[in-house]
């Protein structure tokens, strides 16, 4: 496997992307903090720290953020693949939705959380099933949350591609319609747990 393939595979994992963002934010904090000290209280020791710590930290922050930003930008355009670890939340209720997902491998739990903490599991989806399409059909926030039950691999379809497929492929259109009908039944039958 080439280095580019490894990097792509690494960046498709959402947990890894989060870790990169946390590392980037930490580097950014260190860089800004030391820089602030170096300009407010100038002195040779802080100048050395600025050179050896703050400057590399600023570059590291940008270097870690950029691949994540590009991956997430591209994920919203065209079809891409993403990986999730068990328990990872794929999206949350109330978020604006700009992509839908198809399960390639693994299981997804679609759920709703009441303000009192009661969790309503709406559906558990497996290979070949879609989720997240409702936010693309209606320009409204997500109506439910989704999380990975086990190790999960999904295909991500951005809004533009979804609309093209939905408008031009009758089979795809019908399958989405059928699925939406099924979702109504899920909502009614969904068991609640707290």
């Amino acid at each position: 496997m080439s280095l580019a393939d490894r990097a792509t595979r690494f960046l498709r994992n959402r947990r890894r992307r989060r870790q990169l963002l946390v590392a980037s934010a930490t580097a950014s904090l260190v860089g800004a903090g030391v820089t602030l000290l170096a300009v407010v209280t100038p002195g040779p020791v802080l100048l050395m720290l600025f050179l050896l710590v703050a400057q590399p930290a600023m570059l590291i922050a940008v270097a870690l953020y950029l691949p994540v930003a590009v991956t997430e930008f591209l994920a919203g355009r065209g079809v891409s693949e993403e990986r999730y670890e068990p328990g990872d939340v794929i999206f949350r209720e109330g978020e604006p939705g700009d992509r839908m997902y198809a399960v390639i491998d693994g299981e997804v739990e679609v759920f709703h959380e009441d303000p009192d903490g009661t969790v309503l599991v709406i559906a558990t989806l497996t290979h070949g099933q879609y989720f997240g399409e409702m936010a693309l059909l209606n320009p409204a926030p997500r109506v439910a949350s989704a999380r990975a039950v086990g190790p999960l691999r999904v295909a991500v379809i951005g809004r533009e591609d979804f609309e093209t497929l939905y408008a031009n492929l009758p089979d795809f259109h019908r399958s989405i319609e059928r699925m939406l009908w099924g979702r109504r039944i899920w909502w009614r039958r969904a068991p609640r747990r707290s």
Binding site: S24, S28, A32, G43, P44, M58, L59, A61
Partner: protein, 261 residues
């Protein structure tokens, strides 16, 4: 012997120092900094650096804190863009300019208190007749007086000066000594006439002084002795000393005078 600092820069070696009164705390008067209108470029760079650094901290903290607490992904995206990309990219050059330009100031040199106090305080003393003090008091050099005379000119002069300074800092922190046990922190070689001539050579006063004496010794001023690396005739031979020596500083009074900013 010169009696008016603003009139004549001709020094008189030790005699000159003996004339200067012992610097008591009351005698040392701070000299106001040059007026820069709405602030110099460095002042603006420092302010900008502080503002961007604070924005960067807020952005980075928000991107960490909002990760699991918000359903507004636009806010999270904006916080990330600000704290992890835009601010660091902008802060990098601005903070470089601010810190390096600030590090040329006399106040910065004076932060190495034990080493620099005698030189800085003597330079700022209105009573002192050393060359550095007369340059400072008469504002022959407006800003960054230490750096102006101790950093080589030319393309890499400032960078070399900074590397030297950082090396001194390393020696100071690590306590590193040479194989023979000597102090590593020391003046980096004979003081070159070029540092003086960059400003003075070609000026009317320089050319006409003492019936054109500088013209007569121009060759000696411009040539270094290949054996020692020292100028054949150093400016300091006639105009020195540049600074008070440590021994003379102690004679003036053991405690360092307070600098009135």
């Amino acid at each position: 012997m010169a009696t008016d600092a603003s009139d004549d820069l001709l020094g008189g070696g030790d005699d000159l120092l003996q004339q200067s009164a012992p610097a008591s705390t009351a005698a040392v008067v701070g000299i106001e900094q040059p007026f820069h209108g709405t602030g110099s470029a460095v002042d603006w760079a420092v302010t900008t650096t502080i503002v961007i650094a604070i924005a960067m901290i807020v952005g980075a903290l928000a991107s960490l804190g909002l990760e699991r607490r918000t359903s507004r992904s636009q806010i999270l995206g904006a916080a990330r863009l600000l704290g992890l990309f835009a601010c660091p990219l902008f802060l990098f050059p601005v903070s470089n300019f601010a810190t390096f330009e600030t590090s040329k100031r006399v106040e910065f040199c004076a932060t190495c208190h034990s080493a620099m106090d005698p030189y800085v305080n003597d330079m700022r003393s209105r009573d002192s007749r050393t060359l550095a003090a007369r340059h400072f008091a008469n504002r022959y050099i407006q800003d960054n007086q230490c750096f102006a005379c101790h950093a080589d000119y030319g393309l890499f002069g400032e960078a070399k000066a900074k590397v030297r300074g950082l090396r001194h800092l390393y020696y100071w922190i690590s306590g590193a000594r040479t194989a023979l046990g000597a102090e590593q922190i020391r003046h980096y070689g004979p003081y070159q006439n070029g540092l003086c001539l960059t400003c003075h050579a070609g000026s009317k006063r320089f050319l006409e002084a003492k019936n054109g004496v500088h013209r007569d010794i121009a060759q000696e001023l411009a040539t270094d002795d290949p054996a020692t690396g020292k100028p054949v005739r150093a400016c300091m031979q006639c105009h020195g000393p540049a600074h008070v020596s440590l021994e003379q500083w102690k004679l003036r009074g053991a405690s360092a005078p307070v600098i009135d900013e």
